[in-house]
């Protein structure tokens, strides 16, 4: 049974070190049972501080109105929607890892999927803040829901991409949460069953829903995970597609582009993987999980980064070419003067984006750099700065000069409360992530155990002896002794 799935020696082990099932449990669950380190407290309190600053910034915005921000007559979206698109994009890597790589049977996803899914949920929570508070009169936010009302009933406009967004983001959040939590149940049960303290017994007892590990339950669980992965795959593609429709269905030069859906999705995965790298490099070090999140994992993610970064680069060049080739003077002006001209007011942001997203990831063609943790960490930050500027470029440079040159004058830069709101979502994100890293298994324990005997270092060594054996015998003894 242990070798139902044969894995070649050529492949790097997914789990390093001499591990058995119990050791896996120990390694991953132990941080939950220990007192958090000083670093954890420092990080957590910085995050809470940022969150409080964000809460105050939002309080100002709600009390005094959108005028607290520097958005103006042509730049109505500014930082706010830039941040929205950026955070949604970051969420995409989690779903890609948990769903798409599951369908593609990529074994390495097991090391990082749990934390990446958590990242998705927190990132979508942050993203959702921006359109909600941008409404200004936020107490009327429920107007976006199609409920029978006393105004007719006057329904929402189902033909509007902004409403599609409401459905896409809320569905995405719900499905990601269900996917993540159903995967967590068995691992929470593991924490429960070894709990010593009263609090832990109670908390994980409630949280694990009474999971027992029954074979029938596992069978249903497998079926559930597979179908949720199948549903999440088109879902994640649809979410950023719909976000891109917010722009692409308009007739604003620079936005009115059919290339947007695939370009946005690639960019989302690109920035999401960068964020996963940032988080994982810290987590593996702090929680001592280098055996589970190996250099091989980091390399695999860097390969995705160089691929999606290059897709994004292709998209930039394509839209530039089409803007020129399309012979629409307004479109070409938006690209040539508002963006590509380095000396135009926002030209710097376009070239910063180009450098961060297109040029710098090319370093990852080198295997040595892909496997270098320091380089990867810096690159992950650079990519996320670049991807933030991509959204900034799309939003601001397309609208700061509209068809009416008299309204061109203002140079848009954010107010302190606009920045505070953005920092506040960092606070929210990291507060959630610190709590998650402390109280939940950051690696899918059960899934690691399921691949341990095919991909664990100590088992792979055993396999090389088997490889030398007669193929017929090997099959009979290891693969063929049961069940179809």
């Amino acid at each position: 049974m242990s070798l139902l799935k044969y894995e070649s020696q050529q492949r790097e082990p997914l789990v390093d070190g001499n591990k058995d099932y119990h050791q896996v449990t120990e390694d991953i669950i132990r941080p939950i049972e220990m007192k958090p380190s000083k670093l954890w407290y420092i990080g957590f309190f910085i995050s809470v501080g940022l969150l409080l600053f964000g809460v105050y910034s939002v309080y100002r915005e709600v009390t005094y109105g959108i005028g607290q921000w520097n958005v103006n007559k042509t730049i109505g979206w500014g930082w706010d929607i830039t941040n929205f698109v950026w955070w949604v994009g970051i969420g995409h890597a989690g779903t890609l890892i948990s769903a798409i790589l599951l369908l593609f049977r990529q074994g390495w996803r097991t090391g990082v999927n749990r934390a990446a899914e958590a990242m998705t949920i927190f990132a979508v929570m942050c993203a959702g803040q921006f359109p909600i508070w941008h409404m200004g009169r936020v107490w009327m936010a429920f107007f976006v829901l199609p409920y029978p009302n006393s105004r007719g009933p006057l329904w929402v406009n189902f033909n509007s991409p902004l409403l599609w967004d409401v459905f896409a983001i809320s569905t995405y959040f719900t499905v990601s949460l269900l996917f993540w939590y159903s995967g967590l149940l068995p691992d929470l049960a593991t924490v429960r069953d070894r709990a010593k303290t009263k609090f832990r017994k109670m908390f994980y007892g409630v949280a694990s829903f009474g999971w027992t590990g029954s074979t029938k339950h596992w069978q249903r669980h497998e079926s559930l995970s597979l179908v949720l992965a199948g549903l999440s795959t088109p879902l994640v593609l649809s979410v950023h597609t719909i976000v891109s429709f917010d722009f692409a269905t308009s007739i604003v030069p620079g936005w009115h582009t059919t290339i947007f859906p695939p370009y946005f999705v690639a960019g989302a995965i690109f920035s999401g993987f960068a964020m996963v790298q940032t988080l994982m490099i810290v987590v593996r070090k702090v929680l001592n999980l280098q055996d589970y999140i190996t250099i091989g994992h980091i390399e695999a993610m860097n390969k995705v980064i160089v691929l999606t970064g290059s897709i994004v680069g292709c998209a930039y060049l394509t839209e530039l070419f089409i803007a020129w080739y399309g012979q629409n003077p307004y479109e070409w002006y938006a690209f040539k003067e508002n963006r590509a001209n380095l000396f135009s007011p926002y030209g710097w942001s376009y070239w910063l984006m180009m450098f961060c997203n297109v040029v710098s990831p090319q370093l990852f063609w080198s295997r040595k750099l892909r496997r270098n943790i320091t380089v990867t960490f810096f690159m992950s930050i650079i990519v996320n700065i670049g991807m933030w500027f991509e959204r900034f470029v799309i939003i601001v440079t397309s609208v700061y000069r509209d068809y009416l040159p008299s309204s061109w004058s203002t140079y848009y830069s954010p107010s302190i409360w606009e920045i505070g709101f953005y920092l506040g979502t960092f606070g929210l994100f990291f507060t959630c992530f610190f709590l998650f890293a402390k109280y939940f298994p950051v690696i899918a324990v059960a899934e690691i155990k399921a691949v341990l005997k095919t991909s664990g270092e100590n088992y792979k060594v055993k396999m090389s002896d088997l490889e030398k054996a007669d193929a017929e015998k090997f099959y009979q003894e290891e693969v063929g002794h049961g069940h179809h």
Partner: protein
């Protein structure tokens, strides 16, 4: 007063030993109540004679419910209840409804499936179940055999020992949903290729 039932519980440390044991136990005519494992052991459900789950079929039904809900609702709103003139475009704007229809399809299917999963497996917060062995969620594969009037407990124990089980004991448990009931799920053992 609840009825007490006794079970012979044997733990295995290696799934490689577990598989032939499952086969032999069933072949000998004992009734496996359940096997508790720390991770999904592929093929174990089949070896135990548990039928395939139909959860995915339920997922499909929820999905098409979502599709129809979205389409009928939007059609009704925009063609019957409050037809809006949007630039003279058709009220029945099917292409524009594809995104929301898709999202609701996914939403209904996912939520429905998870709820069904929890319902079928009796999973919910504050649910308390009987756990035969605390290490079944750590590193042991715990086989639980139901004892009937005809079963000789000692015989089952020694049988399990020969099959490679460690830590064998007998547990008396009040019967009820908290121990799980799979009588309808399990097929009788029969010699067929693949077991």
């Amino acid at each position: 007063m609840e009825e007490l039932k006794s079970f012979v519980v044997g733990s295995f440390t290696d799934e490689k030993v577990l598989f032939p044991a499952v086969k032999n136990v069933r072949k000998a005519g004992y009734k496996i109540h359940d096997v508790y494992t720390p991770f999904p052991v592929h093929g174990l459900d089949h070896a135990m004679g548990i039928r395939e789950t139909s959860l995915h079929t339920a997922g499909f039904i929820y999905a098409i419910t979502g599709t129809t809900t979205a389409l009928t609702f939007m059609s009704w709103v925009f063609t019957k209840d409050w037809p809006l003139n949007i630039g003279g475009k058709p009220n029945f704007a099917l292409p524009a409804w594809i995104p929301i229809t898709f999202e609701l399809t996914v939403l209904f299917s996912a939520v429905g499936m998870v709820l069904t999963f929890c319902y079928l497996c009796n999973l919910a917060p504050f649910v308390k179940k009987h756990h035969f062995h605390p290490r079944a969620t750590d590193d042991l594969f715990v086989m639980v055999i139901e004892c009937t009037e005809k079963t000789n407990d000692a015989e089952v124990q020694s049988f399990l020992q020969t099959a490679g089980a460690q830590e064998i004991n007998i547990q008396e448990v009040e019967t009820g949903w908290w121990i799980g009931r799979y009588d309808r799920e399990q097929k009788l053992y029969k010699e067929e290729p693949g077991y």
